[in-house]
Symmetry: C2
Subunit: 319 residues, 2 copies
């Protein structure tokens, strides 16, 4: 949550000459996302977010992310819309970083969503999956099954320094998932990071979905598994089956899960928990004490992973 690349008003003014957005009335760095620099921008034409893409987001993938947001917004998914410059382009360079301007969405993210909020999150997720079906570009999930082994190689050595037995848990789980990961599930465009931080509400109704910079192609039900992990555990680590039931029902109101997706759900939930365990572990091990960012605790996802390993069928999630 920090601004990494500083942009002065004068630099903004020059940058805005490539757009038809009028003059800037408000321009403030905001604490949003963990890996890009974001500025809130208000001009006489509207409100926007200026994003400078830092190391984690690869410039070559920006056409996918920005194209996807434009595509989904055109299908009434409430997501940021990239603003085209006078030359038609949606990205250009600012202070040495790829940068884009997107529409700003009003709304607040919730720290403690209720079951009703979970139901809405499930519904919008399935709408996103359906709207994404007609998106023409593809992007492999760099943090999918194939990516986990590589991540684990880079940080599992230090796992036991954080929690006893964590390394064995990771090794066992990686092996198990590689042996039994389902290859036949319906896939498509997924958000892949639909945490409560990335869903905005106004007066308890969803007003926006943000941060599409993990979006990719992968099994749709895996996205549901990520979302269950992110929305349905309480602070004490317990799975809240009422929230899970609401989220899955919300999802199925728009898109019915197939029998193979239902059967695979516990495994997909394990995979989703491992993915966030590994990325948090990696960030923890490689954290820079001087960096302007707070690192999240990987152990939260170790607990969730252990919970999923004891699940026998999708019914336990509230299905």
């Amino acid at each position: 949550m920090a601004v990494y690349t500083d942009v002065s008003f004068e630099e903004l003014e020059v940058f805005l000459q490539d757009y038809d957005l009028g003059s800037a009335h408000v321009f403030k760095g905001i604490a949003e996302g963990v890996s890009n620099s974001n500025y809130y921008l208000q001009t006489n034409k509207g409100t926007f977010i200026l994003t400078l893409y830092e190391a984690r987001v690869e410039a070559k993938d920006l056409p996918f992310y920005l194209g996807l947001m434009g595509h989904l917004a055109g299908k009434d998914i409430p997501c940021p819309t990239p603003v085209h410059g006078r030359d038609g382009a949606v990205t250009r360079t600012l202070n040495g970083k790829p940068a884009a301007i997107l529409s700003f969405l009003d709304g607040v993210s919730l720290r403690r969503p209720t079951a009703e909020h979970c139901a809405q999150a499930g519904r919008v997720l399935s709408e996103l999956h359906q709207a994404g079906a007609s998106f023409a570009m593809r992007l492999e999930n760099a943090l999918g099954l194939k990516g986990w082994r590589k991540l684990a190689r880079e940080c599992a050595d230090q796992a036991d320094g954080i929690a006893q037995g964590l390394r064995a848990l990771i090794d066992e789980e990686l092996g198990a998932l590689e042996r039994s990961w389902p290859g036949d599930l319906p896939d498509g465009v997924i958000h892949a990071d639909m945490f409560p931080d990335n869903v905005l509400f106004i007066d308890d109704r969803i007003s926006g979905i943000i941060d599409f910079y993990f979006a990719c192609n992968d099994p749709l039900a895996y996205d549901l598994a990520v979302t269950l992990n992110a929305w349905c555990f309480e602070i004490d680590g317990a799975y809240n089956v009422t929230k899970g039931r609401a989220l899955i029902a919300g999802y199925q109101a728009r898109r019915r899960l197939g029998a193979n997706e239902i059967a695979a759900l516990p495994l997909l939930c394990r995979g989703a928990a491992l993915r966030f365990l590994l990325t948090r572990l990696y960030d923890w091990v490689n954290r820079d004490p001087g960096a302007l960012v707070r690192v999240k605790d990987p152990r939260e996802y170790a607990r969730r992973l252990r919970f999923h390993r004891n699940i026998k069928s999708a019914e336990a999630y509230g299905l």
Copy 2:
């Protein structure tokens, strides 16, 4: 430039129950100021800043700062206005910190103000001085002449590690200023930190003055000296006399400087440069590599101080 104290939307919702501001539509931590946590807040009633006061601002001084902003706003100085809660109070506690909601001011701060911008800054400074004359409360300048000796004691030992000869410069200057600091200048409420960061413009007209948390009672012309230091030096360290002339003329358009203030200006400029040299040096020496803040270079103000020491009369500033 960071958010130190985290506030969830749910915590905000409870906090807002003490106000008549409607429901929150936008709530984002913003990179503003160096020592408080600030959130941009938009409700169906307007836009606001929620500030949580961290260690530097003392709770006992908040009635002065917030009362002053209310007073000045009532006299058409474009500054944030504290919002009163249902109980009439302008401060209460949020997550263990004193907190207040103030009106949000549109506008952008400039990194490279022109002479015309400097003229406006001078004008609004004198308007602020005049509007402050009828403010009933008083607050001593904790970072005035008496505070410098104490600051120097706490960090001058390490000054030569930053720049050779810095410690001797500080010692000499402190002695000289203590011997000859003028005691007979008109005093009143001063902003005491009117840097370009704290002045907002919309389409090249001043739209707001912010960050009154160094405001206090001290010689009015000292505030002009602080502002000259902050606005009229170029990045290469050179004093821009065109900007200085514009700023002083802008100031005098509303309030003529007395002969004693003019005579004292070089000394006041030395004092202002020493004040920022010392606070930056203190922050540098005491910086926490893990803190979410970037520390400014004290040497910039050592150069300015050396410039002022060679000034024989206020004419050199463009008067």
